[in-house]
Amino acid sequence: MPLFKKTLYSTDFSPLAEVALDYVKKLKEAGEEEVVVVHVVDDLSVELPDGTDLLKEEDVYKILPEVDQEYLINLIEKLNAVKEILEDEGLKVKIYLKYGNIPKQIVSVADEEKVRLIVMGAHGKGLLSEILLGSVSTDVIREAKCPVLIVKRREE
């Protein structure tokens, strides 16, 4: 059964999201073939329409101040770095950089891409380090139609 064939890896580039990447890699042994890597930004100085595709819609960069442009370029580099890591594992990879409500965008990419599983951390870059389950994870668990793998700490 192709249960893990196509997965979505949602990352805020936090240490725990990096741990989640180990699980994404490991799932290849259970039939994973393709990974959709997603990062969502909600903190630009200009308000954009929810769901703006920041990889495809190049025109929006014209209305963004330079700080935002640099910030986004840096994120694209990080996404490409993840893509390379997964491609080295022999996986097919697609990256997304979206603007909007974070959990909503993650779930909407999951739906569009018809992924079989979402892999993400239990918390991330939030300010409260003692948080047990972040707001993004909580909302994705509630809203996603597909299974979700919530990664906690690194395995010793």
Partner: protein, 161 residues
Amino acid sequence: MLFEKVLYPFDMRKASLKVKPYVMKLKEAGCREVHVIYVMVPSEWGLLSREEFDCEEKIEALKGTMDEGFVSGLLKIFRKMKEVATEFEENGVKTRVVLVPGELDETLAWYADKYGIKLIALGVTSESLSFFRVGKILDIIKAVSQPVLIVKTPEEEDGEV
């Protein structure tokens, strides 16, 4: 070994069966052992001290303290879980079937740590995650230190197994 030992909480509902094929599939990614667990919550079974009921004899022994109907209810659950476990065994995965009294989140967290569990696989209904029933599932995810795989079933497809 990220998926070596899996804890599979089972509660006699179809929703909890939905996660089974996923756990089965994880064998290919290194799953060697599955612990099928039923947590006897106090609201349903009364207050009992923590103990691992992993064979019929131990459950039968409850007849002294517990209503007979309850005991046969537990035996029925245990046998159903054994059935589920057999499928894993036939697939070359070691299993343990166990009933443990306690609150859901605390008991799963305690058990998972005690047995070096690497992943907890939860089959839940979408409704159990709704705002009206906040808590239960999210509390488990918060309480445990292992990764959690959540597989949802729409409410209307749920029911007793």
